[in-house]
């Protein structure tokens, strides 16, 4: 039997105490104003942070990211012209080409960190936030999905990929004439909207609302 099934099995200290995730020091839970941060005095880790922005901004950014993500993968990244011959490439053609050259390991790795993980992260966030914000309801298995969202984060590497594009463009520039494609601009936008989404999402707030979704309507 797990602690989840019965409330009596598990005494929760959530209303009074909290511990530092990096050094385990025990605290009384801080009361923060929006925009404030509480740091651990022993190791300096950020313990709590109340964002000024609310769920509306997070949702809007998640939607923007989804649209930009689709554009970034539907259109070519770069068009190259060598001696009259034109070649276009997108992220997915790169992944395909790596696979056909026999490097399925890198192909799979790039697919996961630039396509699958960012997409899954956006969809998961959408799934959790949309019903919570609009209806004040917790979607089925929302806790599990939000846990995935947080665990996926380090594997979604859109901003690193953007820097990779930049290096590739410079390397190719003296080799051929290059024209940036729609996907290049979309990736740049995606990088910004995903970073802004991460910065604005108040995960403590989401966890608290997932605990008691009714309160979400009364704000």
């Amino acid at each position: 039997m797990t602690a989840r099934s019965g409330t009596g099995e598990y005494a929760v200290a959530e209303h009074t105490l909290v511990a530092c995730h990096d050094c385990d020091l025990l605290f009384r839970k801080p009361r923060l104003q929006p925009g404030q941060k509480a740091r651990c005095p022993r190791c300096g880790a950020v313990l709590f942070q109340r964002k000024r922005s609310g769920m509306d901004q997070s949702l809007a950014l998640a939607l923007t990211s989804l649209v930009l993500f689709m554009l970034a993968n539907a259109y070519p990244l770069l068009r190259m012209n060598i001696a009259g011959r034109v070649q276009e490439g997108s992220l997915l053609t790169g992944i395909e080409e790596l696979y056909s050259q026999g490097y399925w390991e890198i192909s799979a790795l790039v697919f996961v960190v630039t396509f699958l993980a960012p997409l899954a992260k956006m969809l998961c966030l959408f799934y959790v936030l949309l019903p919570l914000r609009l209806l004040g309801l917790r979607a089925p298995k929302a806790e599990l999905v939000f846990r995935w969202t947080e665990q996926l984060s380090p594997w979604a590497m859109t901003e690193v990929f953007m820097l990779g594009i930049l290096v590739a463009v410079v390397k190719l520039a003296d080799l051929a004439a290059l024209t940036p494609g729609i996907a290049l601009y979309s990736f740049a936008g995606l990088m910004v909207s995903m970073a802004a989404g991460d910065a604005m999402l108040d995960d403590h707030e989401v966890w608290e609302r997932l605990r008691s979704p009714r309160e979400a309507t009364g704000d």
Binding site: D22, Q36, Q87, L98, Q101
Partner: protein
Amino acid sequence: MTKHATTAAEAGYLLCHCCHLLGRPEPGSVRPRCPRCGAVLHRRKPDSLARTWALTLTAYILYIPANLLPIMTVTMSGRGEPDTILSGVKELIVGGMWPLALLVFFASITVPVLKLLVLTFLLLSVQFGSRWRPWERTVLYRLTESVGRWSMIDIFVITILVAVVELGALATIEAGPGAVAFGGVVVVTMFAAMSFDPRLIWDRMAPKDGEVSSHSRPEGAYRMQR
């Protein structure tokens, strides 16, 4: 509360590593789960030292082919030359692209090497029960954890080059086995950083009997920041 219940573990609480809810599991529960998010709770990350050692050593081994084998081969009008990570940086310097060369050097050479060295240092310090500068070591850990993903740049550069340059006899770019090893180093070191538990650094700082800890402070003394 007891005399020096400074940490959650000492007070019998478990912190959920995922949603950061603090709770006290019933004494009998074998595999306690977080009542809020359902993650399995551990006092410390399970087998943290053994796992991190194994992953770090794997990364050391992979690091050798990652640097010796070519990560890609660029063939221009019939003439091809294999590029290793270092020769790619050299090429950027020769081309006069200093800022970019520095960026690639930092992401593909400095970050992985420093990450491996820092992980080894942290592992050794915990293994030998060091009480030396726990704050600095925790900051080092947080840095390693957050900076590791940037090493992926070179892998992405290869992907884009391979996607765009496919012009038959004129020019081709092929990935090389070094890229597989290098991707492996990045992924394995990311897992290594995730499996290390920084709380192990602080566990050694717990005051022994009759000793007054300089680190314990009264509850609720957090630093506020705007």
